[in-house]
């Protein structure tokens, strides 16, 4: 099977294990993003695939070949570094030609390949320049070009956009997506920015403290997170979480539990679960995305919903959308997204409805209850 496969990968520095039993399978031509907060081990994992870090145990396969103990150069992957790692004393041409020159390819072939890639990346005007004479975005493109010239089996990107300003980042993000469509190679991309992950990935791997939290397409992770961490990490602004507990209900359907929020005692709502139900009195966490909270008139009144009184703090007006930042009586932050609604919320207190069909339920350990 082609692509990249990681099986039972572990990595320890001394006695400290930083990557715990990671299993990921990436098929040929897929764009996979490793995402997680800093220190989650995503870069280490990428460097292990590249061969820049030793693998403590487990198997890494690239294109069906076990490369776990193979040296970096022989794995046939190329990497774009966060710092770009362009050689300052070499011209753009020589930077891009480096790997071919090392492999002693014929001069004509080198020239032809580099010029072709330079054309794709719109660098053909800058081949004689030194990296220091280029803008941030151009340097980024040289770094990508250097990777493409080798025609690797897989591209590895280590936070390639984090040194660019916000506008350029959006632009380069689109260029990388376009490039992936154009050359169709397997790409593994590391970032801490979930927006980058959502926009670029065919498949996202969410990591936390060296363990895989969930693997899936961007919308799968958004619509159906496995746990509270993934639910909170994917989506911007992040999901709101409210504590609640399971209460005994008189006439529940067999697949329903009744949840009472700490913030709204004495009013319980039924939530439908297909899996095992939590025991009564158990603490649960309710999650709801900002865009699913209703203010003003109910959209569909027949829905079950939690009614909540919220104190507004401030509003971020972004034009098409605005985010209202509020606090519950107990001091829990709740963000509400409002679209195409220019009516400014003047009052200090608003009442919000949290429709039960949009609620995510997590147990006290943060695992999803479905």
């Amino acid at each position: 099977m082609s692509g990249v496969t990681l099986r039972n990968i572990k990595k320890a520095f001394g006695t400290v294990e930083v990557i715990h039993d990671v299993n990921i399978s990436i098929s040929q031509g897929e764009f996979v993003v490793f995402v997680g907060p800093s220190g989650c081990g995503k870069s280490t994992l990428l460097r292990m695939i590249a061969g820049l870090e030793e693998t403590t145990s487990g198997v890494i396969e690239i294109d069906g070949t076990d490369v776990t103990c193979m040296e970096a150069a022989k794995r046939g992957v190329s990497m774009v570094f966060q710092s770009y790692a362009l050689y300052p004393h070499l011209s753009v041409f020589d930077n891009m030609a480096f790997s071919l020159q090392i492999a002693s390819r014929p001069k004509d072939e080198i020239k032809q390949k580099v010029e072709e890639v330079a054309r794709i990346l719109q660098l053909d005007q800058h081949l004689d320049r030194k990296p220091s004479q280029l803008s941030g975005g151009q340097r980024q493109r040289v770094a990508i070009g250097r990777a493409i010239v080798r025609q690797p089996k897989a591209f590895l990107f280590d936070e390639p956009l984090s040194n660019l300003d916000a506008e350029l980042r959006v632009q380069m993000r689109m260029e990388i997506a376009r490039l992936h469509n154009q050359i169709g190679a397997t790409m593994i991309y590391v970032t801490h920015d979930q927006v980058e992950a959502m926009t670029l990935a065919d498949k996202i791997v969410v990591l936390k403290s060296g363990t895989v939290q969930q693997i899936g397409s961007p919308l799968e992770l958004y619509d159906n997170p496995d746990n509270q961490f993934v639910a909170g990490f994917i989506g911007s602004p992040r999901m709101n979480f409210l504590e609640g507990k399971v209460v005994q209900g008189g006439n529940d359907a067999p697949d329903e539990v009744r949840i009472e929020l700490v913030e709204a005692p004495n009013s319980s709502v039924p939530v439908t679960l297909s899996g095992p139900k939590p025991v009564p009195e158990a603490t649960v966490i309710l999650g709801i995305r900002p865009e699913n909270i209703e203010t003003g008139n109910p959209v569909s009144a027949e829905d079950d919903a939690v009614e909540l009184s919220l104190k507004t703090e401030f509003t971020e007006e972004l034009g098409g959308v605005s985010y209202v930042h509020t606090l519950t009586e107990g001091g829990v932050r709740v963000t509400i997204e409002r679209r195409s609604d220019r009516n400014h919320i003047a009052q200090d207190h608003i009442s919000a409805r949290l429709p039960t069909r949009h609620l995510f339920l997590f147990d006290a350990n943060g695992m999803r209850l479905r």
Binding site: A50, G51, L52, A73, V77, M79, Y87, P88, F98
Partner: protein, 279 residues
């Protein structure tokens, strides 16, 4: 203006005036202290007719050849080994290599006179193993100058190591990782990344060395006094002998001017060559 006055005054009093005085004296028959009569180019003519002057120029250049490039390369080699160490091990090894540099020259020469002593020097078995007999190195015209060079390299190498270590630390590790992903061997990495990126520092070290080694005097004065058979006689020693030994300030100044011209010419030439190579 007022703020740079202290510097300007010091510069004029202890540098510009003495330098001017040296040039002026080289055209007179002045003794070491006091004024002399104008003699035109007599001192220079005498100098160019003096066989010891040519010997001194030759020996000075020979010493430069023996020290400058080897000292730089050895410094680079040691620095490259040291950067591969980590933490306190790196710091301690660096200190060990730097230690000789803080010793005064008298201590350095004393140590090496013991080390190389023909009777009980600990280096003698090594020399014996190579050439088959013990050698009194400072009394042998063939051995004397190379041994002075060895002592000088041992003494001053730590400083070069320090410069190279800090230059090597400034090369990001990413470059080597990127190169190793591209399949570059250690030798290729050195040739294509380390050496070119280190070049400005290498050029600096070479130039500093060149200027310093052209001014060789202390070690020779303390170890060989120019002997045996003038085989280690260098320019500064000639200046010293004429001025302090024979009370001929004017003639000594002429030799000093000659040394000055050589240093300026050689270092400008070298710096230009190095700059051209760097591009």
């Amino acid at each position: 203006m007022l703020l740079i006055a202290p510097f300007v005054i010091c510069y004029l009093v202890v540098f510009a005036y003495p330098v001017y005085k040296m040039f002026a004296m080289s055209f007179t028959d002045a003794p070491l202290i006091g004024e002399g009569e104008w003699v035109g180019l007599d001192n220079y003519i005498r100098m160019f007719q003096n066989k010891l002057f040519y010997t001194s120029v030759y020996n000075t250049l020979y010493f430069v050849v023996l020290t400058v490039v080897p000292n730089t390369l050895i410094g680079l080699g040691i620095a490259m080994m040291i950067v591969r160490l980590n933490g306190w091990v790196q710091a301690s090894i660096l200190i060990l290599f730097f230690m000789p540099y803080i010793l005064p020259v008298t201590v350095v020469t004393q140590i090496w006179q013991w080390v190389l002593d023909q009777q009980f020097g600990i280096a003698q078995p090594l020399i014996e193993a190579v050439v088959g007999k013990r050698v009194s190195v400072f009394r042998d015209p063939f051995w004397a100058m190379p041994m002075v060079a060895v002592v000088t390299i041992w003494w001053t190498n730590g400083f070069n190591v320090l410069l190279f270590v800090s230059a090597l630390r400034n090369i990001p590790r990413d470059y080597y990782e990127a190169a190793s992903l591209d399949g570059a061997t250690r030798l290729q990495q050195f040739r294509r990344i380390t050496w070119p990126l280190l070049w400005p520092v290498t050029a600096l070290v070479l130039t500093l060395q060149l200027i310093m080694q052209l001014k060789i005097f202390d070690q020779i004065y303390l170890m060989t006094q120019g002997g045996p058979f003038n085989s280690t006689y260098v320019l500064l020693q000639l200046v010293y002998r004429e001025a302090f030994g024979r009370n001929q300030g004017g003639y000594a100044s002429a030799v000093a001017v000659a040394l000055f011209v050589i240093i300026v010419a050689v270092s400008i030439l070298q710096y230009q060559l190095l700059k051209a190579r760097g591009k």
